[in-house]
Structures are given as C-alpha cells and as structure tokens.
C-alpha cells in the first residue's frame, strides 16, 4: 500500500493539479455570482459546456493534419481560449437576462431563483442535445463528440516518475494567467470596485451611484468567460465533449468553491486545486470509483470545522 502510494504519488499529483486548475476556473464563475447575487448559478455548468463546444467547432474547422508546435500552437490556443471565453461570457449574460433578471426585479427568493437555475440548466443541456449539436456537427446530439489533436503529448521534463507534458503546462499556465487577470480586474479596476461594493452591500452601492444591472451583467460576463476558458482547456486536454459534460464537473466545481470559501476568488482557486489533489491522492488508496465520495466527505469535514470554507467568504475581502 505504502509502496503504491510512493510509486503513484507524483504522477497523481500532476493529474490532480491539471484537473484542479479546470475545477478552479469553473469555480470562479460560481463564486463571483454567489458573491454578488447570493445565488447558486446551477446553469453555470452549461456555460462551461458551451465553451467546450465552441472550441470543438473551431478546432474541427482548423483540423490540423498533425499536432501544432511553436507559434502556430500559441496562436490556435489563444484563438480557442478567446473565442470560447467570448461565447461563454455572452451566453452567461444572456442566461442572466432571461432566467434571473425577471426574478431579481420581483425580489424573488433565492429558492425560486435556484429552481429557475435548475430549469435553465436542463433547458440548455437538452437544447444542445436536440438542436444545436446536431446542427453544429451533423451527428446525433447525445453522442460524445471528438476533436482532432492540436497539442502533442511530449514530455517536457520529469520530476521523479512523473512526466510533465506540454498539454499539462498549457492548462496550468493558462489557468494561472486567467486567474491573475481576473484578480486584477476585480481588485484594481473601477468595475471591480463596483462588484466588490455590490457584494458587500447592494443598497449602499446603489446610493454610491453603482448601477446594479451593469455590475450583475459584468459579473456574469467575467464568470462565464472563465468557464469558457475552462472549456477550451478541457477540450484541448481531453479532446472529447458531450452535451452533459458540465453536469458532474459543475457540481464538483461548486464544491470546490464552497470548500475554498464561497464568494472568495482566491478561495475558488485554492478549493479547485485542493479538490483535484485530494481526489487523486485518495484514489491511490481506495480506488478511483471513490473519488466523488472523497470529495464530498472532505467538504463536509471542512465545513464542520470551518463553516465558511478554508479561506472564508466574501468577495469584498478578496485581497485578504
């Protein structure tokens, strides 16, 4: 057992870091929306799904004969990341407009909003399965769709028996850059100050001249864009996607957000990475089928001792 652990520890860590980065990117969207609206945006997982399909379509259209390298690779990665971010961000704004804004104007309860979110989630999944995916790919919408390879799986360097491949580096580096960028936007810009102010006290923010509708829109845009980036990285790494790809991933990402301290950007990052690592480490001992149980158990245990997550709540104190 200990032998297994030593043997598998480093490769598992690499896998956990890569997938944890994707968790973290998705978790950012949950955490921002929650911080501002106190809403579990259940349909966020579908925003991620839209991101994977955007990248799928772009990569299929480019259809490189062999994996790319150098400048071409950089260009294509940038293209799919930006396009997926744009489309997912747009979809998130649209989602807010259709499914949440009418409720917000009525001052509906969060429970009502949650049901609306679940409805929107189901609607988007089925819309893709029945209409959009067949239209985009010409294949049955419930089938898994595959994209050609754009990044070769070359080992760049090794740490012990863990091979670090090009694709691993791209995922981790891209995720870190995106998170730093988001952190800058929220903490250093005027719109970011608006977001933090609204999260802290919406009524006071309005009195100070903040346009709530604007802030909510930007929040969804930024959160959606992060999910889009996650979608692009996911597709590059796994090269497959399906209409309900976001479902399990979304639940886990939300768990990551709560684990780190919901409403807290750095908490989402930490929660995502911790979740990815713990799942993989636990799987060494218990078997991979217990990953989800490990994740949820860790969540319950952490919440029992730190009821507001590892780093604590609140977007306004994101710098703390």
């Amino acid at each position: 057992m200990l032998d297994d652990f030593l043997n598998q520890f480093l490769p598992s860590t690499v896998g956990g870091l890569v997938f944890g980065s994707i968790y973290a990117l998705i978790a950012l969207g949950y955490t921002m929306v929650y911080g501002v609206l106190r809403l579990i945006n259940f349909a966020h997982s579908e925003i991620f799904m839209i991101g994977t399909f955007t990248s799928l379509v772009v990569i299929t259209a480019i259809a490189p004969a062999s994996p790319l390298t150098g400048f071409a690779l950089f260009g294509v990665m940038l293209l799919i990341i930006l396009l997926s971010a744009a489309i997912s961000g747009g979809a998130a704004v649209l989602l807010e407009l259709v499914a949440y804004r009418p409720l917000r104007k009525k001052g509906a309860t969060r429970l009502t909003a949650l049901i609306s979110a679940i409805g929107a989630s189901l609607f988007l999944q089925e819309l893709f399965a029945l209409v959009i995916i067949p239209w985009l790919t010409g294949k049955p919408g419930r089938n898994q769709q595959s994209a050609p390879r754009i990044v070769d799986r070359d080992t760049v360097f090794s740490i012990g028996n863990a091979a670090i491949r090009t694709d691993h580096i791209i995922v981790i580096v891209a995720a870190v850059i995106m998170m730093i960028a988001l952190d800058r936007v929220v903490n250093r810009t005027k719109i970011g100050r608006g977001i933090r102010a609204t999260a802290q006290d919406p009524e006071a923010a309005v009195l100070m001249g903040v346009s709530i509708d604007n802030i909510v829109r930007v929040t969804f845009l930024l959160g959606g864009a992060m999910a889009g980036v996650a979608g692009a990285l996911y597709l590059m790494e796994f090269e497959n996607t399906v209409f309900n790809v976001g479902f399990v991933l979304g639940i886990k990402a939300f768990t990551a957000a709560v684990l780190g301290g919901i409403g807290n950007l750095r908490g989402a990052l930490l929660g995502g990475i911790v979740l990815g690592l713990i799942e993989n480490w636990g799987a060494i001992f218990l078997g991979s089928e217990w990953k989800d149980v490990i994740a949820f158990t860790v969540l319950v245990v952490v919440l029992m001792f730190r009821p507001t997550g590892i780093l604590g709540e609140s977007l306004q104190k994101a710098r703390a």
Binding site: G16, N240, V248
Partner: protein, 392 residues
Amino acid sequence: MSGARLGRVLALAAASSLVLAACAGGGGGGGDAGGEVTSVKIGFMGDLTGENSAIVIPPRNGAKMAIDEYNAKSPKVKIELVPYDSQGKPDQATSLITKAVTQDKIVGLIGPAFSGESKAIGGQLEESKLPSVSPSATNPGLAQNGWTYWHRVVANDDDQGPGIAEFLVKAKAPKKAFVLSDDQEYSVGLADAVAKSFESAGVTVERDKFAKDASDYSSTVTKVAASKPDVIVFGGYYAQAGRLLKQLRDGGVTATFASGDGSLDQQLVTGAGAQAAEGAVLACPCNIPSADVTGPLKEFFDKYKASAGADPAIYATEGYDAATAFIKAVEAGNTTGEKINEYLKTISFEGVSKPIKFKANGEPENNAIFVYQVKGGVLKLLGPAEEAKLEG
C-alpha cells in the same frame, strides 16, 4: 388463455372490491375469444430514442425485417410488431409492459434490449405468461431467476468475459493483466468475469474502477502505468472506453487494450482517436456481417441494407433471429403466450447469427464469441474466438 384471463379478472375484481373503482385496468377481457385468430401482436421493447438507442435500433430493424418478410407471404396468421420505447429505463419498462399485457394483449416480446429493464419486468412476464426473447441483454444473472418465459439469443457476460480472457491468453501469453471498469452494472459484471478467468489461467490481475461520468482518468492511468501490465481489459461502453484508451496511450501505456460488446462501435475509434485505437481488440457475442461476407450472411447484409438503409450494426442479426423464433412458433399454429413458450422450448433452427436453440433456463445453446480488431481506424471481424488470429 380464457382461463388465465378469467383468473386475472377475478383477482382484479377481488383486489378492487373494497373500493368503487373495480374497473382499473384489464377492462376489455375476451375481445378476441372465439372465432379464427387472424393476427397476433408481438412487442419490441428497448431504448428507441434515448442515449443508447444506437445499440437498439439495429435489432429493431432486424426484427422488423423478419416480420415484414413473413407478412409479405400472406400467412394464415399475420404478425403485428408493436414497439415499446422504454428508453432503457426500468420504470418506463414496468408501465409499458403492463399496458402491453392488459391493453395491447401481445403474445410475445422481443426484448427488453438491456439487462436492467429485463430484471425489472422479468417477474411480470412470468406472472402474465408472456414469452420474451432478448436480442441483446447479456447480464449473466438474468438466467438465474428461475424464469421459464424468458429467453435470449446472445451469450452472456460470463461467457463473454472468459472468451476475451482466454483469447488474450492464447494470443498474447500475458503474465500480468489490468482489468478496468466503470461503475455501471454491465461494466462491473464483465470485468469480474474477465478477472476471474485470467486468475484461473494463472495471470496476475490488478483492478481499478471509475465513475461513469468522470472525465479525468489520471488516477487510473497512473495505477496502470505503475503496474506495467501486458494486457488491459476494460469492461464497459464505447464512450468511456474511447476516453480511457486515449488517456492511457497519452500516459505512455502501450499494452494491448481489449474490451467487450459495449465498446464494439465505431465511436470507440472516434473517441480515442484513430492512432490510439489502432490494434484494440474487441470481443462480442454478436455477429456483425460486413460487406465482404459470403453465404447467408451476405444475403442478410443486402436485404438489411435495402430495408433499413444502413449497413447492419450491432445485434441486427440477433434481432432478426429473435423475431424468427416467434415467427416459427406462430407458423406452427401457436397464438397464445403459453403455447408459443412451449414451442420455444423445443425450437431449433439455423439462425443468421448462429444456430438457435434454447436451454431450459432460456440461455442459448450456442454461446459463440466473435473477435474484432481495430485496423486502419475501422473495426474488422477476425472470426469466432476459437479461430481468430490477432494481427500486429
């Protein structure tokens, strides 16, 4: 038949006598009592519109083709094929079979296609004396319920598992095997059978399992890479098999990869990528004719293509054979569930997929396993497991 029906009506009346509504279900008893029977209904149940309909549409087409051919001969008793779309869900199957028995009054059922729904309604089939022949449910446990009205025309996973394992032992002489599965019933059952068979052949076996909706298999790949097996067998469906195979190859694992009937689909190749999928071995109790076959299979191939508008796919021949079994029973003058069931016990004919004959527990006598391999990005039939030779 009238006796059984009367009994049912009586039971029903008794059941509902405590309330006003003695009329729930089973209203129209004895509509076809007396007179010549000129047509009977046979049901087809399976996932016709859901996620796994790709495995069920071909046997449906095969069954339809057999019955259309039969009706075209203007026989004394015509057969009407009634489709029941269970979506593969046990609950749906339960309510559909009640309707099929009480309202549509079918006398035989082709299906259910999957094992879960078969388990859910097997008891009901037994209670209502309705014979069934499944073209594709491969769970071994199904034959162990003491059911006398249930049959299938495919070998079960307990035959399939050893079929794969023995074939690999013969072809590759492995010392160490890694057996994987996801957490679905079919997957676990097949993997268990494979592992047992490997162990009795003296091959060391290691195992791992993952959730069916997981997308990152890095922990599984790590385990496999650390164990350095000679062969890897995955019990499960093509969606997971494709993802798994890709990640295994990306993770530097080069051992031979094998799987069962659930992965026997072109989508395995698209999911894994042609390069990663190359050389993968697949075993199946099914016989899928390809364009280059000869003899009766060729005839089937052409007729199927003409009627269904596509090449025969998984379980098409088995669907045809299941329907043929019922057709032969009806031709012999049996028009009730009980009579047809008696006839099925003695039936023996040369089917398209294999010779058809049932054991007392409903299993097919012939449990042939066929081996396929991915070559140049397509699945090729290598032949029955005893004769097949692995290339490369």
